[in-house]
């Protein structure tokens, strides 16, 4: 065992010597092509050396992160944000599916570089990870069957069963705002919506941005009432990578300035929300 540890130590030293060696530290030499150049020890330089930016996104939320079964492409607002950031670094984007419950563990375990997965910025999560600027403003709402007239607002959820997702802010919000509602929790939103269609719950409650997509996917369902919470969505980054947070914020600001943010909204979200693109929730560069 001791010999194994010593061996691993020697290996780590050798690797360290390699990456710190002369010539190897130039990010332009990473061969990824394009993109800015970064200080050798920065998080971005390390990502450039890998040649790919690994993004945790949802695979089942239409308009944000959705793996299209016909061409296997990951589509949506979150996915395109990842592509945008990767392009600015001059690396390839790689998508890993994250569900609400494993987003923070995946960051902490370095399974992904950033999480763009309809994640609400809140105080509890800020203790665990860092967030970029708010890149989208959502609010929790209710999806129910079109023929269910009994549910019009969050108060009506009391005494009914509400389907939502484990480890989401939605689950917490329901237990606070409709304490007499029974919760039926699933790993993903598509499962929660299927349960609604099967009649295992009266409603699905989560961010309106997610419900728009579900309403279009599952026939005979519709959104009810006004959003009853504020859900500022942010890009999650592991603590200690302040340089990456700044870089991502820079990309977002640039997108606000050159109209890319609005273009992405119109491409992905407008077809479902039916609303014109609002101003981005963060400031433009300059």
């Amino acid at each position: 065992m001791r010999r194994l540890i010593a061996g691993l130590g020697a290996l780590a030293l050798a690797l360290g010597a390699c990456t710190a060696g002369p010539g190897a530290s130039s990010p332009a030499a990473s061969g990824a092509g394009g993109g800015a150049s970064f200080a050798a020890e920065s998080t971005m330089a390390k990502i450039q050396q890998k040649g790919k930016l690994v993004c945790g996104v949802k695979f089942d939320v239409i308009a944000f992160g959705f793996k299209n079964p016909t061409n296997n492409e990951v589509e949506g607002f979150d996915a395109d944000l990842c592509r945008e950031i990767a392009q600015k670094m001059g690396v390839q984007p790689e998508f890993v599916e994250t569900v609400s419950k494993n987003r923070i563990p995946f960051l902490q375990e370095d399974k992904v570089d950033i999480v763009i997965s309809t994640m609400t910025i809140n105080e509890e999560r800020k203790k665990e990870i860092d967030f970029s600027h708010e890149y989208y403003h959502a609010g929790q709402s209710i999806l129910t069957k079109s023929d269910n007239t009994a549910i019009q607002s969050v108060d009506d959820l009391n005494g009914t069963t509400v389907c939502t997702v484990e480890g989401s802010t939605s689950e917490k919000n329901i237990s606070e705002q409709a304490p007499d509602a029974e919760l039926l929790l699933f790993p993903s939103y598509s499962e929660a919506a299927q349960a609604l269609v099967d009649g295992r719950c009266e409603s699905v409650s989560t961010d309106d941005s997610i419900l728009f997509g579900l309403a279009s996917q599952f026939e005979g369902t519709e959104l009810r009432g006004e959003p009853f919470t504020d859900e500022p969505l942010g890009i999650g980054i592991k603590k200690g990578k302040d340089d990456l947070v700044q870089f991502v914020n820079g990309v977002l600001e640039e997108m606000a300035g050159n109209g890319r943010w609005k273009a992405l909204y119109e491409k992905h979200i407008k077809p479902y929300s039916g609303k014109e693109a609002p101003e981005p929730p963060f400031k433009a560069a300059g």
């Binding site: 609400s100 509890e124 203790k127 069963t161 484990e166 917490k172 929790l185 009649g199 295992r200």
Partner: protein
């Protein structure tokens, strides 16, 4: 420990559900097992084939798949039997474990020598009396240790019910864990399962030793 203490009531609720699910499913699985095993042994060719089909079907498909299937099948949009995931899990676990119990009980019955039944019948005991006084008491001794093992497996299998949304021990611990971003609730869940299964293992071992002498 803080995340466990702060959510103790919630976690105990999950623990209670796991206990109820385990006890309920074991009772139902025993009833199913005795019934189907009897049909397999004494039900003639058709009974034997039907019982065998039940055993092979439920023993050879994954429990998780069965639970997913029942959750949708029992939903109001389909059969409308129940949408409570705990009820669905109770039925699923009972039917699944019942297949194993059937085989254990069948082997217990077959372990009693045929000549004992013949002797009992020739002494003038009725068929029911033969079963009650001669066959079943001996079969019972043989099946206690494997039934103990099955009950331990059943307790562990209740965790699968979390996948259909049943708020049992694992689901409760998992929710607390994802709310607090801590590992301790899941560690607590492990200890809580052991607090059920270890006593069962001790009880099984104890019965096994006692019955060995009684032979």
């Amino acid at each position: 420990m803080d995340p466990i203490v702060a959510n103790l009531d919630f976690l105990i609720g999950g623990y209670a559900t796991t206990l109820k699910l385990s006890a309920g499913a074991m009772a139902l699985a025993l009833a199913i097992g005795v019934l189907v095993a009897s049909v397999r042994v004494w039900g003639g060719r058709i009974g034997s084939a039907a019982g065998g089909a039940y055993v092979e079907f439920f023993r050879n498909t994954p429990l998780l798949v069965q639970l997913f299937f029942y959750a949708v099948l029992f939903a109001p949009a389909n059969l409308g039997l129940s949408r409570d995931p705990v009820v669905v899990a109770l039925v699923g676990l009972s039917v699944y474990t019942g297949a194993y119990v059937t085989e254990v009980i069948r082997s217990g019955i077959l372990s009693v020598d045929q000549r004992q039944s013949e002797a009992a019948r020739s002494l003038g005991l009725s068929q029911v009396q033969t079963l009650r006084r001669v066959v079943l008491p001996q079969a019972f001794r043989t099946v206690i240790p494997p039934l103990g093992n099955l009950s331990i497996a059943l307790v562990k299998n209740t965790a699968v019910a979390s996948a259909i949304g049943a708020l049992e021990l694992l689901q409760a611990g998992s929710i607390v864990s994802s709310r607090t971003f801590r590992l301790e609730p899941l560690a607590g869940v492990v200890v809580a399962y052991l607090s059920i299964t270890i006593p069962l293992a001790i009880l099984t071992g104890h019965l096994e030793r006692r019955l060995r002498f009684a032979r």
